[in-house]
Amino acid sequence: MSQTKLRLTDLNVIVSGQGGDGSLTVINILADVLRTSGLRIYTERDVLSRIKGGITAATLRAYDGERLCIGSHIDLLVAFDLLAVNKHAYRLNDRSVVIYDNSGGELSEDCGVPAGARRIGVPLSRHAVKNFRRDIYKNSISFAVIGRLLGLDDEQMHHSFEKRFARRGAQQLKYNLAALDVGLKLSEEAGLTADAGLYDIVSSDAHPSMQITGNEAVAFGFLVGGGRFFAGYPITPSTDVMEWLDKWLPKYGGVVRQAEDELSAINMAIGAALTGTRTMIATCGPGLSLMQEGIGQLGMGEIPLVVVDAQRGGPSTGMPTKPEQSDINLLVYGGHGDFPRAVLAPGNPQECFELTVAACNIADKYQLPVFMALDQGLSQNLASIDPVALDDVVIDRGKRLDADALAEADVYKRYAFEDDGVSAFAAPGTPGGMSLVTGNEHDEFGLVSTDPTNRVRMLDKRQRKMITMRDDLPRAVHHGIDTADIGFIGVGMCYGVILEAMDILTGQGVHTQYHQMRTLFPMLEETAAFTRRCKSVYVVEYNATAQLAKLIIAQGGDESRINSFLKYDGTPMSADEIVAHVLNAEGIKEVDVA
């Protein structure tokens, strides 16, 4: 075949099977190869709350540029199990290809694969067992079929295996390379010859990029931002924050402790924060519910702490491995009593890094809890991003008094009334700064007080921070055409999907703009203003009760222009869903641009 091959610019691949089938390994190797050809990679894992078994999947998008979501259609489905075909068939179209293991039989009539899709059945499992007596080698066999289909050359494939398996030992490498060769032979038999690939994929010296998840970016931002104490309790999908810090924080003289429960975790963190150490905790819904008493303590005691919430399907235990943005109410309103706080919402790993640094600064400067609202998608999906600029990081520890400053002061009051609501902090151990920190209402020295005049002054002092911190809160990022009638609002994992939906709509001749808010609370006036600037504003969120839209309305957003797009079934949001919703609501007929 000598036809001109296509340059690969956008490819969506799902590899799926039973948990433990090695789907993620296939995706990771493929990501590695495609990255060397200059494409940016985004990967998503669909796992269940069990160690082995159940239908799991790993999804990859390779894109010529930044794209932080999986495409609306899957170009290639690799299925180790026929049930996996049924599960993902709805995401295929007539141009899709399905590579499936036919060791146990062929695809049934009702498997759901579109009629036009190409089907390639290969007895992967049978050959794995026959050649290696181990079923697990089917994933390495499948890689050869994928590579031949896409147009990777055999040498590229061998090289990628050497890179991946070398660290697992010579034996592992040998068997996996042998499995790859078995796969290449099976490909030939299936008509996938070395020159039959769909795309022209050439390795190049790609622009260096970071491969990082939102959780990792938060952890890294905390380290660079001067964080030195972290306490946590394992809970999906936030645990990677603790795991990354466990590896790196001690190298910089920091401490990571795994506590016996979330109550202990937040209180250990409070203990560390009281000493003037930059401190963070990470959890998700159930853990955050348990921590609520501690959150109020931070507000009343004026203790700085960064609290990361990797939101997952709720309520209660909910769907631990599935994304949701249904803790917004808890983040904004959680805890009893009135106290100030800030809630920040990054949309991509870059912002996870930058906003965590900002959160540390705001927490220290205003002595209150600062939340980082993530979600399972943003927390755990792996993206290629431009390297973060370390030297751009600015650290501001706020008003602190050392021994010299205290020696010059006539009196030190931990909760001195100040116009900006912030009283200077003297770290325990500093001579002359002895003070009382308490969750009881207190006077300026921290002594318990229920005096009504003091109560009102003290509560008002704390609440004033909600105003004075505004200048330090991250502003929204604007995308699209600022005169467009149609606007979008959405945070976290919705960021990448909204940007893709905007591209599709532009292709349909529909112009849009996107107000990517990065501070949920206290909400900045810019957000309410945006709702008044557009004819209709689509608030895209991953929950059932429009928590974000209601928050915007409560903060002055124009309810009459707000239209909610809600999803809460646990599957990834796709741009097509948003596009269809908008076109339908706007009464615009979809144009077939294919």
Binding site: D32, M210, Q211, E216, F220, L223, V224, G226, R228, F229, W248, P250, Y252, G253, G254, V255, R257, E260, L263, S264, N267, M268, I270, G271, A272, A273, L274, T275, G276, T277, T279, E293, G294, Q297, G301, P387, V388, L390, D391, I395, R397, A409, V411, Y412, K413, A427, P428, G429, T430, P431, G432, G433, M434, L436, V437, T438, G439, F445, G446, V448
Partner: protein
Amino acid sequence: MTKTFTPARPIWCAGCGDFGVLQALVNALDELNVPAHKRMVIAGIGCSGSLQNNLSCYGYHALHGRVMPTATGAKLANPELTVIGVGGDGDGYAIGGGHLMHSFKRNPGVTYIVMNNGTYGLTKGQPSPTSPNGYGLNIEEDLDPIMLGLSIPGSTFLARAYSGNPAQLLELTTAALQHTAAGHGMSYLEVLSPCVTYNDTYREWRSSVYDCDTEAGYDPTNRAAAFVRMSELREEGRLPLGLIFRGERAALENAALNHDFTAPALQDVAHLPLADTYGDALQSFMR
């Protein structure tokens, strides 16, 4: 000198056992020359949880039951501080009971003084975990935290004092602070501290306390023998006092901290050359 808060007068009822604990703590700290600015007193909720207001220190009024997790975090962040946890039996054994066993297991460099009065005084006399079966409407057996401590292999200092015996209380408070200051980790001191209003046990405890410190042949380094002796004394209706157990083990902060660096709280993180300092971590993402 900078004026800081003036320690408040205790809010306790006249005759409360907690007065003795406060006095012993102040005297022991002075005796050991721990300056006010190095003291961090973390108190629980309840009558005893106001003790930090009554001496010069960095004081913190913790959430109910969370004295030990808070104290552990503070000690790890700044091990140069003398961190002292104080609270009652409801705080430490009921709502915070789960943390007690993990604290024994962890062995952080914290002195933890529990003022045990066998009741919830501040809420007017409900039974606590150490109230005997038959106290009010209580139908549960009482908890013996010293025996709990003995059953956890990580514990290193378990002692019980009685506020009606101030000499031994001072001696044990001093010994507890010294154990922790020497890097051996957590020192746990339970003080029988009667509530004169809701559970006045002075007379009863005066006759039932038993001093292990003066018992010939009592070996506080023998965990198994100590457990047997505690069981026997309990059967006899006695309340054992003294240094019940002392073990050898390094404090949590010894293993948890990277000693190539100054402690987390004392690092100047705001003035580091960022690209040089964190280049390795950044490189780990360049895959």
